[in-house]
Symmetry: C2
DNA sequence: TTTATTAATATGTAGCTACATAATATTGTC
DNA sequence: GACAATATTATGTAGCTACATATTAATAAA
């Protein structure tokens, strides 16, 4: 914003953003058409287009063919959330990563799981419950369901030493996913596992992944108390 | 992914993504250089570049000048989180929106707030505590601090009928922001305000906004029980 | 006045050339 | 062999032309 970007299109983007920030163009206002604005700012329409698309992506402006470009009146706070692989996250914080398998079963999942994965008809899945450790202390409790129909090979994988996620990311790349973030009061068992008090609030992150509409996995990650997620505006 | 995109660059993006999904290129593998891959897929380098940049943005591949393009081995789950203005969110769910001011004071904020806003030296701020209602029932408890140095005019605004956010979005566009998501066990007072049991887990979303490094506001939104955030992979 | 058709227009995309930039490879020197 | 200088190379950007597409605006038909 205040600094001068190296490349031209970023420079143009910041200048247009600046015109919005300083009130030259206010929420609801219409911006000049690309060709005119480009001439005004001394760049090609291509370059301005690149800049405008970036601003549209971050939710600052809205562009419509023929309708032109307007400053959004309902600026959604569009943040980018990066959820890394747990092992890397733990190691990045300078801890030694550990993994401990709690239970492994094969059964038909409850309706809540099959519905979340948009499964047409429920089928047998592999359920894996495990702990992720940081310097020996519980970092995260994982409750995972893996589709034995989409990923039959997982049944033969040894999950006592490595997380199912580690195997999945290199063998079943996902095409798309959903994430659900909620708060949860942990019960006696969970409290004991993640080192919390009974009833203490913890952040729960659920993730559903698919490969071409075929369900891969549903993971429910119960974080230890005090854990929080950070997100920020895209540059 | 499985569907055919209308535009060429989206089509190319999906085809390259497909080569990763079907295992032609696996995590850690190097993709052909743009020129060759473009020739192989029958498009211009410009078009392939557009497609590759999209894949790089979503965290699927990694591109480095001279170094080439590689499939990421540590695929971060990069999700887009849209946090709308509360009033619009409530109305979108078909409820009647209501707003109720609880308290309004002017004071120097605690260190936690000024630190979160990266304030060099603490200065007086306007504190506003208010309730957002959906069909008369509490939807969200807001605890906001607004910088009287960056936004002195806010002192004259009537905040008994409209949310401070409504005024801010049209008068002080933000240049960047941070978001913090955590779980919280609500105390007696909070429980009573948002209609929860004491100690019940609720999702807390904190947001810090700036305009050119000058702090605008710090909001702590305590959601009612059961509230959750949804995010998903970028198309 | 209403409705269907047609024209006008702003943004979106495809491909081109040319050059910039950041890394990596190579070469030369000590 | 170690290190600095130089060449090479893959991606990144700027600008161009031409055309596509979605919508609005204008016009004609009912």
């Amino acid at each position: 914003m205040s600094f001068v970007a190296r490349t031209s299109w970023q420079n143009v983007r910041d200048r247009v953003h600046g015109l919005i920030l300083d009130g030259t163009y206010r929420p609801g206002d219409k911006l000049p058409r690309d060709e005119d604005l480009a001439a005004e700012l001394g760049c090609a329409r291509t370059t301005l287009h690149r800049a405008m698309r970036a601003l549209a992506d971050t939710g600052i402006i809205e562009r419509r063919r023929k309708g032109g470009t307007t400053v959004r009146t309902d600026p959604v706070t569009r943040a980018t959330l990066d959820i890394p692989v747990t092992r890397l996250e733990v190691e990045a914080r300078g801890f030694t990563y550990g993994y401990h398998l709690l239970e492994r079963t094969e059964t038909v999942p409850p309706a809540l799981i099959s519905a979340a994965l948009k499964m047409l008809k429920p089928h047998r899945m592999l359920r894996v419950q495990a702990l992720h450790l940081a310097d020996g202390r519980t970092y995260l409790l994982e409750d995972r369901w893996v589709s034995l129909q989409t990923v039959p090979e997982i049944a033969q994988v040894d999950l006592s030493t490595q997380s199912a996620n580690e195997w999945l990311v290199r063998n079943r790349p996902v095409s798309h996913y959903d994430i659900r973030i909620s708060a949860h009061s942990c019960d006696v068992k969970e409290a004991q596992l993640i080192g919390a008090q009974e009833g203490q609030a913890v952040l729960v992150v659920e993730r559903m992944t698919w490969t071409n509409d075929a369900p891969i996995t549903h993971v429910r990650a119960t974080n230890s108390p005090g854990f929080h997620l950070m997100a920020s505006s895209r540059s």
